[in-house]
C-alpha cells in the first residue's frame, strides 16, 4: 500500500473516531437543551455568575492554539520542522486549562449552594466543561508526543501530525459551542 493511501486510511480513521466523539458529547448537549427549556430563568441567573472575561479570553486562547496547530501541520507538509508550532500549541492548551481550573475553583462556592434549576445549570457546566477538559488533557498528551518526535516528520511522512491536529481542532470546536451556552445568556440583563 502506498504511503498516500495509508495516510488517507489513518485520517479516515480519525474522522470516524471524531464522529463517535460527537455522539459521546451529544447526550450532554441534549440534556442541556431539555433542562434549559424547562427552567430558562435559572440558566440565565446561573450564566450571570460565570466569569465572562475569563471565558472569552479562554475562547480566544483556544482558537489561537488551533491556529498554531494548523501552522504545525502546514510546516510538516512543506518538510519544515513542526516542533516550534507544536510547542506553542501545547503552551496555549496549558494556559487554557490553568484559567479553566481557576474558574472552577472560583465558581465552586456558588455551585455548591445552588438549588433547583441553577443546580442543574452548574451540574451541566461542570460535567460539560469537565469532559471537555479531559479531552484537552488527552490532546496535550498527543501534542507532547508529536513534539517529542517532531524530527521524524518530513514532507513525505507526517500523518501523525495531521491526525493529531484533527483531534485538537475537534476539541476546540466543542468549546466554541460550550462558550455561548454557559457564558453568554442574556448578558444585557446582568
Amino acid at each position: 500500500m502506498s504511503t498516500a493511501a495509508r495516510s488517507d486510511n489513518a485520517l479516515f480513521g480519525m474522522w470516524a473516531f471524531l464522529a463517535t466523539e460527537v455522539l459521546f458529547f451529544g447526550p450532554l448537549f441534549f440534556g442541556y437543551v431539555h433542562a434549559r427549556l424547562a427552567q430558562p430563568d435559572a440558566f440565565v441567573s446561573g450564566s450571570h455568575h460565570m466569569h465572562i472575561v475569563l471565558g472569552t479570553l479562554n475562547t480566544a486562547i483556544l482558537m489561537t492554539s488551533s491556529l498554531t496547530m494548523a501552522l504545525a501541520v502546514g510546516a510538516a507538509r512543506k518538510g519544515g520542522p513542526p516542533g516550534r508550532w507544536l510547542g506553542l500549541t501545547a503552551l496555549f492548551g496549558l494556559v487554557f486549562l490553568g484559567i479553566k481550573a481557576a474558574e472552577w475553583v472560583m465558581e465552586f462556592g456558588e455551585a455548591a449552594g445552588a438549588a433547583g434549576g441553577e443546580a442543574r445549570f452548574y451540574f451541566l457546566y461542570y460535567a460539560m466543561t469537565g469532559l471537555h477538559a479531559v479531552h484537552l488533557v488527552i490532546g496535550l498528551g498527543v501534542v507532547a508526543w508529536l513534539w517529542r518526535h517532531a524530527k521524524r516528520f518530513d514532507a513525505a511522512y507526517h500523518t501523525p501530525v495531521e491526525a493529531g491536529g484533527l483531534y485538537w481542532h475537534f476539541v476546540d470546536v466543542v468549546w466554541l459551542f460550550l462558550y455561548p451556552m454557559f457564558y453568554l445568556l442574556e448578558r444585557y440583563s446582568a
Partner: protein, 93 residues
C-alpha cells in the same frame, strides 16, 4: 496565509458573539450565538482540518456524526416533547 485569515475571521466572530450578547434580542440571542458557533466550526473544519482539500470519503465521515446526532436529537425530542401532551397509559399523571 489562509490559516492566519481563518484565525482573523474566528476572532471577528468571537467579538461578534460576545458583543451581540449585550443587545437585548430575546430568543434571537441564542439563535445568533449558535449560528456564530456553527460558522466558527465550519471555518475550522474547512480550513484548519483541511476538508477543503479532502476527498469525498473524509467529507462524508465528517458529516456522518452530525447526521446521527440530529437523528438522535429528533428521536429523543419526540419522546420528551410529547410526554405531557400525550402521556403513556401507565403514566401516573
Amino acid at each position: 496565509m489562509t490559516y492566519v485569515l481563518t484565525w482573523l475571521a474566528l476572532m471577528a466572530l468571537l467579538a461578534l458573539t460576545f458583543g451581540s450578547s449585550y443587545l437585548p434580542m430575546g430568543a434571537w440571542n441564542s439563535v445568533a450565538n449558535m449560528a456564530i458557533s456553527c460558522a466558527k466550526a465550519l471555518l475550522i473544519a474547512v480550513f484548519f482540518m483541511h476538508l477543503r482539500q479532502a476527498g469525498a470519503l473524509l467529507r462524508l465521515a465528517a458529516c456522518i456524526g452530525l447526521l446521527w446526532l440530529a437523528l438522535l436529537f429528533g428521536l429523543s425530542w419526540t419522546d420528551f416533547g410529547t410526554r405531557t401532551s400525550s402521556p403513556a397509559p401507565w403514566s401516573s399523571r
